[in-house]
């Protein structure tokens, strides 16, 4: 038992539940206030009472940060396949079909061209509710193509991450999405296209250990868990006492891993200002 300490980087849905995982999704887990859905949407899914950041679905996120009507999605048809014929308690293909039905998305990332405060860019946004935002071949491919389009158009890439890590149903090929996305960022850098990484709750394991950490600028939402290994596994394997803010955006900022914590209402103007600064240099 002790000879193999579990250090997986897989989809960590269990310990990476969004804070609203318990109770009604529109009840604030930190102050208990309850909201109608349209109220929350109007407030960018930030609790008007205490400032807690609720999770945001991918389409809504794009509407929050992109200029109205500018988003053009690419690689809509791209889907995961099942290279290993993976079957646990359910077939992987069945889990994929279920996730697509539940989310209306082809996989855990939506990517395309957009403008933010009138600055053209490429956007790659992850959806946590699609199999824990896990990264398999399709997510890696969408990200890599977004890098290539940004390089070709000489525009910045903005990635918004929310992921439990690599998708273990694709075995070693999911691990290979780490060097794949890292390679894509290298090509993006060679083309001198800027890359802004926005980490939202949770950004963990394989996504943190690859492209998300390679942004020219890295920002995080308040309270987001940003950890290679989630608190439950760290606690179980090391029996260390965890600090209260273990792995949170705030502690990551204190230790120097993040440039800034940006509250959701400030995110769009923040990105606009950054993109303008990058545009002025080239």
């Amino acid at each position: 038992m002790a000879s193999h300490i579990d250090v997986r980087i897989e989809d960590r849905r269990e310990d990476a539940q969004p804070p609203s995982g318990k109770g009604h999704p529109n009840t604030c887990p930190s102050c208990g206030s309850h909201y109608r859905d349209d109220e929350l949407e109007q407030n960018l899914r930030v609790c008007p009472h205490c400032g807690h950041h609720f999770p945001v679905r991918v389409r809504e996120r794009i509407a929050q940060i992109a200029d109205r009507g500018t988003f053009v999605e690419h690689d809509v048809e791209l889907r995961s396949s099942d290279p290993l014929g993976f079957f646990d308690l359910k077939a992987y293909t069945e889990r994929l079909a279920q996730a697509e039905q539940d989310t209306g998305l082809g996989d855990a990332m939506v990517a395309g061209a957009a403008s933010i405060e009138r600055r053209p860019c490429e956007l790659a946004v992850m959806e946590f509710t699609f199999m824990g935002g896990s990264m398999g071949s399709a997510v890696g491919e969408k990200f890599a193509r977004a890098c290539e389009r940004a390089a070709e158009r000489h525009v910045p890439l903005v990635a918004v991450t929310a992921s439990g890590g690599a998708r273990m149903q694709e075995g070693i090929l999911s691990l290979m999405q780490l060097p794949k996305t890292v390679s894509a960022v290298d090509a993006l850098r060679e083309a001198r296209a800027p890359f802004v990484s926005v980490m939202t709750h949770p950004t963990t394991a394989g996504v943190l250990a690859s492209f998300a950490s390679l942004g020219d600028v890295i920002v995080a939402e308040p309270g987001a868990l940003l950890a290679f290994t989630g608190p439950r596994v760290v606690q179980q394997t090391t029996r260390e006492k965890l600090p209260d803010d273990f792995g949170l955006a705030e502690s990551n900022t204190r230790f120097g891993h993040v440039d800034a914590i940006v509250r959701r209402p400030d995110l769009r103007p923040y990105l606009g200002r950054l993109l303008a600064l990058f545009a002025n240099g080239s």
């Binding site: 997986r8 889907r79 894509a184 290298d186 390679l214």
Partner: protein, 317 residues
């Protein structure tokens, strides 16, 4: 279960026996495949496209065998004049990763590898081969040193994974694993990686982004430990064998999926039975992988490496 083995199973066994006899070749399936060997491999593939669950599990057991040779066991047998370099030039020296310069068949190379411990004391000292970010920073600075001086880089992978502790997180475990991969993508010198035991997820791939990636016959390379996968998907860690059969971490499957370029043979029964023979085979494997890429144009080689990893994965569109 049927008492009588099926005809195809008998056939497969026979072919596997013949294949085993041919296994004194340094590499199977990738860099130097003999014609006879390739034909047998294809025949086996037709009969049984993949190793059985038992064979996969046998690899898992051998990859983690406590008597298996570790990085420094190979270093003393394969390389001359090894000079170990210590420290990340920032904070600490991580004993879970060894790095240094050495001579390999007449030329200077840089070596980076995970290091596990043999007895309790050394195991603790080496942290069971689980690096902190400091280890990846040491790896990066030695690889960048090699790049400046034109030395090929060899990496040996053998880790259950990067260390999952509070301090490791505070020091930026995820970010350094990402940056170590990027440093390898950018190298202008040739790089060869071999997984010699456990290739445990992000902690392994951090030093495995090489021009040629090999695996020893009984090594495993995986996104998660079988126990971890079983605990999540089967909700029962004791289903590890089932999980391993499902996510296929063995060398044969990794080769079929295009993740590695070749398999380095081990002595009959596994590397733990004969360190010298295992080292001789590994040395030949490393040389066979390095030779064809050693003299390529540096920029071309770097681009080919990047393209190789860019192409990883299987999807539908």
């Amino acid at each position: 279960m049927a008492a009588e083995p099926k005809q195809s199973e008998i056939e497969q066994l026979r072919l596997r026996e013949r294949l085993a006899k041919l296994r004194n070749l340094p590499l199977i399936g990738g860099v130097s495949v003999g014609g006879e060997l390739a034909r047998l491999e294809r025949q086996i593939e037709r009969i049984a496209t993949e190793p059985s669950a038992d064979e996969v599990w046998h690899s898992v057991e051998l990859a983690r065998h406590q008597d298996r040779p570790y990085t420094l066991d190979y270093v003393e047998r394969i390389f001359d004049d090894f000079v170990e370099l210590h420290g990340d030039r920032s904070f600490a020296d991580d004993p879970a990763i060894v790095a240094g310069l050495a001579r390999f068949r007449g030329r200077t190379i840089a070596l980076v590898g995970h290091q596990k411990g043999r007895d309790i004391r050394e195991r603790t000292h080496r942290n069971f081969g689980m690096p902190y970010p400091e280890g990846y920073r040491k790896a990066m600075r030695v690889m960048e040193l090699a790049d400046r001086h034109g030395f090929p880089v060899f990496t040996l992978v053998d880790t259950p994974g990067a260390y999952p502790g509070v301090a490791a997180e505070q020091h930026g475990q995820g970010g350094w694993i990402a940056r170590c991969q990027l440093a390898m993508v950018r190298l202008t010198v040739p790089s060869i990686c071999c997984v010699i035991g456990e290739g445990g997820s992000g902690g392994a791939v951090a030093i495995a982004v090489a021009d040629r990636v090999l695996m020893q016959e009984n090594a495993i390379y995986s996104v998660i430990s079988p126990e971890g996968c079983a605990a999540i998907l089967w909700r029962d860690a004791s289903e590890a064998k089932k999980a391993a059969a499902a996510f296929k971490p063995d060398a044969r499957h990794c080769l079929d999926l295009g993740v590695i370029d070749g398999i380095v043979a081990e002595p009959e029964g596994g590397a733990q039975l004969d360190f010298d023979a295992a080292a001789a085979l590994l040395g030949d494997g490393l040389a066979a992988a390095l030779d064809p890429i050693a003299d390529l144009d540096a920029d071309e080689r770097r681009r080919a490496r990047r393209a190789r990893f860019r192409a990883m994965g299987v999807f539908a569109s």
